[in-house]
Structures are given as structure tokens and as C-alpha cells.
Symmetry: C2
Subunit: 328 residues, 2 copies
């Protein structure tokens, strides 16, 4: 633990020359140029110790995840990352922690051409608040929204779901995994990969998109509510790892349907766009799986409904709600 | 205390139709249009309970202040407020608290045409992280920066300094004020008024500007460092309230020079712009006071220095450093 001043801390670990922003760290505001014809997309997430991450997490992985969950929001709207700001509350100016955090954070930022343009550092219970900024065309093949799903669209998901929740359950002591399996699912929980390339590739193809942070069924519900439609999901089609497949079916369904922390993209596209969807997945290097379809909603004002079926088309009961920070 | 879900909470207190943003609350990202020829200015601040505000603060005043300190950063760069995002960690979903917080926050936002376009809510130790967005011309009479102060410039400050620190000292029990006096300085601490109109009026006139959040001398030092100059400040000229003037001289100097939480603008302008400065103050309805001047710095690589003098031009000793969240 050191007694570095606030400004020394920021400078030592986070102050780097900006290349894209009109003005970066060190003034009252940062300045961003937004090209004509583009919108600025922005999103913010706050991660609190004990709630979004464990106190034992490797600081480098924490840095990665803190930015990854924000980049995942840019991915879901099809934006190109440009910059981010970092507000940090720290119980103490622990140099080892700050060094690791900045390494993880800036490595992911560099991988996506997303530069740190400002922030705030204060003493307090450990929490990390990041705002990300991206660019997306204002018209034409513009931002992917939650509101565009239409009856007849097919429902897709990227990657595999449920491993992050499986890792959390190991940390909670509700189940056990052997070393190699645990490391793999722990990596899914701690090092999610934001689907930036996929989001951009889906512009003009997907009719709606959202990133999976709170669990498939809960996040799907947001799309259905905003689009005014319902959905049918084939629970056996939801992609999962071999490690998760080795678990009892109830665990598989809990983790894939209500897991949370997946940071994959859930999106819809009409059947006639199937070839373009496949091409987008290949160009982004991400596996895509069709897991269901969008159906019309009967009854005005009714809540959105998701019917769950298995591979044989039989109805499946599933009572688990979305992970909600004020309900759990 | 209620057990409202996260999404209900956000909707109940903060979800309102957006008028200026291309896309507001409710999707993965918000979308902002930035007119051709303008830059987007952004800044973020995190307020932590017990550090930046007392647990006994009126929630409505807390909401006001949380946005005010961010708007003050836009003011310092001469930007027009457009939008903000709010990330909130709450120990519980206390409706009375949220109702007050949103009233104070949205009232100030409405007063400045600054709309809420997104955010995040989570359970955790009480903290508020706001990012603000504003527009400023990319060229011509563009953003006010910290880096433009030149030898010969005059040094100005808006409003009166030190009352917020005086109120803090009453809360700390180091001094006493009678009811009316206490209410007035407490209001200065809890309800700072961001100098938005003044910042915009100073574009093309001021050579540098900063908002006073950490104390006059500490914040002035940022301007001097980035501009490569030194300064002379007449400590008797620093504007203060009658309540503060009734205190011993040592208290007056502590509060005005190193007080913190003033949220007034400190700026520089050449002597030939004095009439324009006066006009800007009048148009913005804010008192402006000349408190010193910028002088050249001799010795490359040396730290910035501020010489303090009194009304008779005699040197004044003052050893108090800036308020720094990791040093205090």
C-alpha cells in the first residue's frame, strides 16, 4: 500500500497519449470528434466488489472484465469502439492491484482500438464505473436495437452459454469441478470476449440484438417487450460446453437459461437472411446457433412470453427468473 | 424499503421520454447525434458516501450536487450540456431516497436542457457515478482548456469561494455558526450552481479555464502546469461571503485557498480583454473578480509556482496543499 496522491496514481497507471480523441486525459472534459453521418453510442456499467466480482479475483482479469462488459454493450448495438472513461473507487492506493487492473484493462482496450480519455479516482469501497463510446452509422445499416424483432424472425445466439454461471456455482460451493474444467469455466466468467466484430457484421442483417448479461430468458424478455412480440426457445438447442453438458440437465438449464454474465449476443433475423447470418458469424470468427423463433403476440398490453420447448417440440417448464441485482 | 426489481426502479424514477438524444434509456447503448463542426465534451465524476457527501444529506440536494459537479466540468470547457448517464450503487431500494435523488437530479438537468439517456443500477455501498455530455465548437471560439494561460494574462474567479469548506468545518465540529449563517454556507456546500452560461460566454475570450473542485491553489496548479507558467495571487482579493469574512483570517485563507467544493470557474484572459470579461459576467449573471495574474516561468522542468501576496503586495505564507482524495 502506498500513499501516492490521486493525480500521481492516475498518471502512473492510466495516463497515455491519445491518438483518436480530440482531447484526452488531464483537462476538465475530454473531447471527441464524431464524423458526419455517424452517431455516438454510449453505455455505462458499474461493477461493485462482492456483487459483480469476488475479492479474490486477479486484478488483471478484473480490468479485462470491467471493460469487456461495457464493450459488449457497444457490440450489441453494432458500434465500433472509440474511447472510454474510468471512474474508480479504491479502499487504498494498492500499487500491485492498480498495476494489474490497468494491464488487463488497457490490453483489451488496445485490442479494440478503444482509448482511455478521462476518469475519476477516489477512496471508497472498491467499485469500477466505465463509460464506453463508439461510432455507428446514423442511417442505413445503422445501430442494432432491441425493438426490431418481428414475428417470423429466427432467434440466434453467439458462442456458448452458461459456463460463467457454472463457475459461480463452484465458487458458491454448490457443485464441484476438477481442475482443468474449473479453469475453463472460470475463464469464461472472468475473461468474457465482447463480440465487437460480430455486432458490426450484423448491422443491416439482424432485426434486433442485445448482449446477454443477466441471463438468456431475462435479456430475451427485454427484446420481446420492446418489440411487442413473443418467442419460442428450443432449450436443447442452446449451445453449451462439454463441461456444462456433463452436469445434470437441471444445472444445464439453470446455467444456460438464467445464468448471467455470458456476454454473448442474442439477435433476430428473418429466415431469408440465414445465409448472411452465417457469413457474419464466419467473418467474425464466432459460432452462431439458431435457438428459436419470434412469434406474434396476441392480446394487447400483455407481458411478453417465451415458450420453452425441447428437441422433440414438447413444452418445458422453467420457473427461474432473470438475475436481478435487487431481487437476488 | 421496497423490493422493487432493478428495472422497475429505473423506470419509476428515472425513465422519461428523450427529446434531444437519438436514442435514450432502455437499449444496450444510448445514441447521440453530434452536429457537424462540433465536438462532444464528456466528463465523469464518482461521489462516494462518507467521502463526497454525508450520510445525513437530503437526497434531493444530493441529486442536485451529483449532477452539478459534472455540469461544472462542462462549464469549465465552455460546452453546452446535452445529456448524462447515471450509474448508481445503492445498499437498498429505498423509495424515499430514490424519489428525492431523482427530483434533485432531474430538476437541475431540466434547468440546463440536459437529459438522462442511460445508466446502471446495482446493489452496493452508496455511490453515484455520472457522465455528462456537452457540445462545443470544434474550431474558432472552441473549448476552454487548462493549457492556454500566458504570461501577462489576468486571473479571474467567479462567485465567492470558501463557504462550502466553512460548512464542512461546522459538520466536522471544528467551528460553530448560528442558524442563518450555517444554512447559507450549507447551501453553498450542498447546492453548488454550475457556471454553464458563464463558461459558454467566455469561449473566445478566456485563454484557459478550470472549475474549482479541489481548492483554488490546487486547481490553479493544474492550469499552471499544463500552461507552463506561474502565477501571483492576491489572497485578500479572493471573493468571500460576509459569513466567511467574520471568521479569523487563517480560517478565511484556508477556506478560500484550499477549501474545495466551490464549483466556481477560475480562468485567465489577457488585460486587453477585460471589458469582454466583464460583459461575459454580466450576460451570465455571475460576479467575476480579478484575483491575480499569470507570470512567466523561469527554469525549464521546474514545478509551477504560485506566489501569494496580500492587498499591500507583501508575500503571504500558505502551506496548505490541495484537497486530494488519497492524501487526506
Amino acid at each position: 500500500m502506498m500513499s501516492l496522491g490521486e493525480f500521481d496514481l492516475i498518471a502512473k497507471y492510466f495516463d497515455r497519449p491519445t491518438r483518436r480523441a480530440a482531447l484526452g486525459i488531464g483537462d476538465d472534459c475530454a473531447l471527441l470528434a464524431v464524423p458526419t453521418g455517424m452517431h455516438l453510442a454510449t453505455s455505462c456499467d458499474m461493477l461493485v466488489e462482492g456483487r459483480h466480482f469476488l475479492s479474490t479475483v486477479d486484478p488483471e482479469r478484473l480490468g479485462h472484465k470491467a471493460l469487456a462488459v461495457n464493450l459488449s454493450d457497444l457490440a450489441a448495438c453494432g458500434a465500433e469502439p472509440v474511447a472510454f472513461t474510468l471512474a474508480l473507487a479504491l479502499p487504498s492506493a494498492d500499487e500491485a492491484f492498480l498495476g494489474g487492473l490497468s494491464r488487463g484493462l488497457l490490453a483489451l482496450a488496445d485490442a479494440h482500438g478503444c482509448e482511455l480519455i478521462g476518469g475519476d479516482t477516489t477512496r471508497g469501497p472498491l467499485s469500477i464505473c466505465i463509460s464506453v463510446f463508439g461510432l455507428v452509422p446514423a442511417a442505413g445499416a445503422g445501430a442494432l436495437l432491441r425493438s426490431g424483432a418481428r414475428a417470423g424472425d429466427e432467434l440466434y445466439v453467439s458462442g456458448r452459454l452458461g459456463d460463467a454461471r457454472l463457475a459461480l456455482e463452484v465458487f458458491r460451493g454448490t457443485l464441484c469441478l476438477t481442475g482443468g474444467d474449473f479453469e475453463a469455466v472460470r475463464r469464461a466468467m472472468e475473461m468474457p470476449q465482447p463480440r465487437i466484430a460480430l455486432g458490426q457484421a450484423l448491422r443491416g442483417i439482424a432485426t434486433s440484438a442485445i448482449d446477454l448479461s443477466d441471463g438468456l430468458l431475462g435479456d430475451l424478455r427485454h427484446v420481446l417487450q420492446r418489440s411487442g412480440v413473443d418467442a419460442v426457445v428450443d432449450v436443447d438447442a442452446v449451445p453449451r460446453s462439454a463441461t456444462l453438458r456433463a452436469q445434470p440437465l437441471a444445472v444445464q438449464r439453470l446455467c444456460t437459461l438464467s445464468g448471467g454474465d455470458d456476454y454473448e449476443l442474442l439477435f433476430t433475423a428473418p429466415p431469408q437472411s440465414a445465409q448472411q447470418v452465417i457469413a457474419a458469424g464466419i467473418s467474425a470468427g464466432v459460432a452462431l446457433t439458431r435457438i428459436g423463433r419470434i412469434v406474434g403476440r396476441s392480446g394487447a398490453g400483455r407481458e411478453a412470453q417465451t415458450a420453452l420447448i425441447d428437441a422433440n417440440g414438447r413444452a418445458v417448464a422453467h420457473g427461474v427468473a432473470s438475475f436481478d441485482h435487487f431481487r437476488t
